[in-house]
């Protein structure tokens, strides 16, 4: 989306009171503190939203982490469980999710200890089927002896049959339909009968079957209908995450184990470089253009510029970016002026001149794509605001006084037309993060936008949390800054308390 496009209504409604008397710094300070205090509950809510999103996400964080690190030990069947536990302890997943949980009497408060989400889901479904936790627990615990027996068998004779039945046993952990469980139990039983000399396997399978029979015969579904609240206290995942955030530790990325804050800092460098250039250029060009258009309102210049700017504004930046990219970087079209390969790999020994020219070659296209949309929007806003001001009486007075046109426009008109420009300026802060997602993806810039998309795609939740929090904070700071700027630009604005 075009950087800095708030809605026509203005971004929000501050307590704007036009009051001629008091605009003392004390009021401003009190207002500032009040607004800053409001950040706390808002950020708290955003953190809840981000956390809830991560908990709703499909996929197992432990697997994401271990898969992306290509951990060899995970592939080893025997070690898998131990490694799984280690990783989940590392990620704090062995803790309850939140301070409390609503559930019912049938559910134990220790369900969170089953870390594997698939197994936990299976247990939930079985609980909804039978509602009898003690019976279910003994059934679930009876699976393990069978598994260990088969493992030992595997160590002595590794036939396909043993491996197959080990798989079947492990499959029981995640099977919840009655027919599926029965089939697996029957298969294990017949397998046990083929090796009658192995007594321990026999008893283990028999115990498992007995436990399942007990479970089926003693359902307690009535307990499902009695509500319960489980209180977990402060040692939970959310609390741990939030308190470490407050200490400035945003965790480590699932993908490569590097600290989130460092990854963000590195990405921010690129994003800031691109966006600040783009914003600077946009304002530099848009303000004189808008002023010219307003001065010559309804002339042919104004009308054609309005049309051009309108079309520019509607041009989807990602289309422009893609088109520019393919035409200017593919040799086939004979216009290969720019390069796209790795923006960050400038040779270490390059001179300053080389460095700058190389940077420019990389940055021209993305900066152009980031600029033109906001340029169109800002100059339109500038034109309309100034046009409205120029029709007012005090401008006529200024002209009648004989002031030069330059002074009339820039000193008397421009200052009063600043409001929409300030509103836009406030929306720049969050745009630094979210404004350039697509452009960075297209031009392969290792900035915040690309980082965001990559982390969302690979479900790197610590990254996503932090980015969401950061962008929320920047949005609020942007609003605050524009409110402060309103007061500076127009002495009539003051943020005194509403006196009604």
């Amino acid at each position: 989306m075009v950087a800095g496009t708030p809605d026509a209504a203005g971004h929000h409604t501050p307590l704007l009171v036009l009051h001629p008397t008091s605009r003392s710094p004390r009021f401003m300070l009190r207002y500032l503190i009040k607004r800053l205090l409001f950040f706390i509950p808002a950020l708290f809510m955003v953190s809840l939203v981000a956390f809830a999103l991560s908990k709703l996400a499909p996929g197992d964080p432990v697997l994401i982490m271990s898969r992306s690190r290509a951990d060899e030990t995970m592939r080893n069947l025997v070690d898998a469980e131990r490694v799984y536990r280690e990783y989940s302890r590392l990620l704090g997943l062995d803790k309850p999710v939140f301070y409390f949980a609503f559930s019912n009497q049938a559910f134990p408060d220790s369900l969170y200890r089953i870390i594997n989400p698939e197994r936990q889901q299976t247990l939930r479904k079985l609980l909804y089927q039978f509602g009898n936790w003690p019976a279910l627990e003994s059934y679930y615990q009876a699976i393990r002896p069978v598994e260990t027996e088969l493992r030992q068998l595997l160590a002595t004779k590794a036939t396909d049959e043993v491996i197959e039945h080990l798989r079947i046993t492990q499959g029981i952990y995640t099977t919840f339909d009655t027919a599926g469980i029965r089939n697996r139990l029957v298969a294990l039983n017949t397998f046990g009968n083929t090796i009658p000399e192995n007594k321990t396997l026999h008893t283990a399978v028999d115990n498992l079957q007995e436990a399942y029979r007990q479970l089926c015969q003693h359902p307690q579904r009535s307990r499902l209908f009695l509500p319960a609240i489980h209180w977990y206290g402060f040692d939970n995942q959310y609390h741990r995450w939030l308190s470490s955030c407050l200490q400035g530790n945003f965790g480590v990325s699932y993908l490569d184990g590097r600290p989130v804050s460092r990854k963000i800092r590195e990405a921010l460098r690129w994003t800031l470089r691109l966006n600040l250039t783009a914003i600077f250029l946009a304002y530099l060009l848009a303000i004189p253009l808008g002023v010219q258009m307003a001065r010559r309102a309804h002339s042919s210049f104004d009308r054609s510029m309005t049309l051009i700017l309108f079309l520019l504004y509607s041009l989807p930046s990602f289309w422009v970016a893609t088109t520019l990219l393919i035409f200017f970087t593919t040799p086939e079209y004979g216009m290969q002026f720019f390069t796209i390969t790795g923006i960050s790999d400038i040779p270490a020994g390059a001179s300053w001149g080389q460095r700058i020219s190389e940077n420019i070659r990389h940055m021209v296209l993305p900066v152009f794509c980031l600029t033109y949309g906001s340029l169109a929007f800002i100059s339109r806003q500038m034109r309309n605001a100034l046009l409205e001001v120029l029709q007012q009486d005090f401008i006529r007075t200024a002209r009648a006084k004989g002031l030069p046109e330059r002074v009339v426009i820039w000193k008397h008109g421009f200052r009063n037309a600043l409001f929409p420009i300030i509103t836009l300026f406030g929306s720049i802060f969050p745009a630094v993060i979210a404004g350039s997602v697509i452009i960075e993806v297209i031009f392969n810039v290792p900035g915040m936008g690309k980082l965001t998309v990559d982390s969302i795609r690979s479900q790197d939740w610590p990254m996503v949390y932090t980015i969401l929090l950061l962008s929320a904070l920047l949005t609020m700071v942007g609003l605050l800054v524009s409110d402060m700027l309103y007061a500076i630009a127009d002495p009539r604005v003051n943020y005194q308390e509403k006196t009604t």
């Binding site: 929000h12 499909p58 609503f102 209908f225 989807p316 593919t330 965001t452 998309v453 795609r457």
Partner: protein, 426 residues
């Protein structure tokens, strides 16, 4: 705006409609945008008759068929194909007579003779000139023109459904906040207690029953939840009538709704949409529409709120209140119609925004089914094959035109409804 409505049946005078119409007639660009919009609507409704692998009409073995119509009916279960035509390759059947669509390819149909990016003007392997891929093919040999036409339907649907959802939420919450404000929404204590009990109870038993009921009967649990809620409200009424807990509590609706809006707006919409869409386990286009709608209602709510805040003291609303009309009726019949024009402006811009968001999502390949053909997904292909300029140009142009049309319509509405800028002839 303080017109008094003498009889509630006539409704407020539709003054702004004529203004908008005049504005459309005056501005050449507005007229054109309306025409282009009509073309887009036509394409999305009748696209199947323009680009399809099935013929419009054919005669096989002395029997006549209208395959497109019959296929549509068959998919609804109204019609049964004869066994030999159940799953034919429509390209080579022993036709006696056949009338093809202008583009004889379906959007997802793979033309095996023209795999791997045939350019529009380049060599294509064809039996008849009619079969030419006028806008080329993509890597899988799918016709670009057919894809564009089916993409028009997706884009318009996205815009329409997403904004319908957004309008529903935005109008409801905005009207509540603006009409009642902080002081005027009052509930008796009995009702507050009844709601506090019945909402969690209905949620609890609704979800429990959802899990307990067998797969076919799950929707009954929703009904059960609603029944519990209604029972609770009924009990609240009962006690309120008997004078138990009649003292009323003021609910600061405006504050609550404003905080919600601020919370949603604190997170950049595109990021939030990306994050929420990536949660979806089974990608579907309708889910994406609903998600876009549920995230982008805030500006509509703000407009409605501001408008109703302004109208709250208007004499015609006082009069309606004096006549003893219910709040719901006053909001729906008297207040909201007057708040509609600014909402229309937001809706027009919102459709443009939703079309863009969909294009972004399918461009990034997040949230949409992998085999869906949309403008964004076609455009995305060019990143892997930069030589295929036609894959960048045509879908991008389609997105551009659609976005421009809706932006222009929004602009027209703004100018028509803004008395200061009404006279302008672009």
């Amino acid at each position: 705006m303080s017109e008094f409505t003498p009889s509630p049946d006539t409704g407020p005078a539709p003054g702004w409609k004529t203004q908008v119409w005049q504005q459309v007639q005056q501005r050449r660009l507005s007229r054109w945008s309306l025409r282009v919009l009509l073309v887009l609507v036509f394409l999305s409704i009748f696209g199947d008759f323009l680009a399809n692998d099935k013929p419009l009409y054919c005669r096989i073995a002395g029997k006549s068929y209208w395959p497109i119509v019959q296929d549509f009916a068959a998919r609804q279960g109204w019609y049964q194909w004869p066994a030999d035509l159940a799953r034919p390759d429509w390209r080579d059947l022993p036709y006696e007579k056949v009338v093809r669509t202008p583009i004889p390819y379906g959007p997802r149909q793979i033309d095996r003779r023209n795999l791997g990016l045939r350019s529009p003007g380049g060599r294509q392997r064809l039996d008849t000139p009619w079969e030419r891929h006028w806008l080329g093919t993509d890597r899988l040999g799918r016709d670009v023109a057919a894809g564009l036409i089916s993409g028009a339907r997706t884009a318009l649907l996205i815009g329409l459904v997403a904004m319908a959802v957004a309008a529903l939420v935005g109008l409801f919450l905005g009207a509540l906040a603006g009409y009642f404000g902080d002081q005027r929404f009052q509930l008796s204590r009995a009702m507050v207690i009844a709601l506090l009990i019945s909402i969690p109870t209905s949620l609890f038993y609704g979800t429990t029953l959802w899990h307990v009921f067998p797969a076919g009967a799950k929707s009954w649990s929703i009904l059960a939840g609603i029944m519990i809620m209604l029972t609770g409200i009924g009990a609240g009424r009962f006690f309120q009538r008997r004078g138990v807990g009649r003292r009323s509590l003021v609910i600061p609706l405006d504050q609550l709704i404003q905080r919600l809006i601020e919370l949603l707006e604190a997170i950049p919409a595109l990021l939030l949409i990306l994050a929420v869409v990536s949660l979806v386990r089974r990608p579907s286009i309708f889910l994406v529409m609903v998600i876009i709608g549920l995230i982008r209602w805030t500006s509509i709510a703000r407009f409605v709120r501001a408008e109703l805040l302004r109208l709250r003291q208007a004499t015609f609303l006082e009069a309606a209140r004096g006549l003893g009309f219910s709040h719901a009726r006053i909001i729906w019949r008297h207040a909201l119609p007057n708040a509609l024009p600014p909402v229309l402006v937001t809706l027009a811009f919102g459709v443009a925004g939703a079309v863009l968001v969909e294009a972004y999502l399918s461009f990034l390949g997040i949230g949409l089914p992998p085999d869906s053909v949309t403008w964004g997904s076609m455009l995305q292909q060019v990143r892997e094959s930069p030589k295929a300029w036609w894959l960048a140009t045509f879908p991008g142009l389609a997105i551009f035109i659609t976005v421009t049309v809706f932006n222009l319509l929004g602009d027209t509405l703004t100018e028509a409804l803004n008395p200061k800028t009404r006279v302008s002839n672009l």
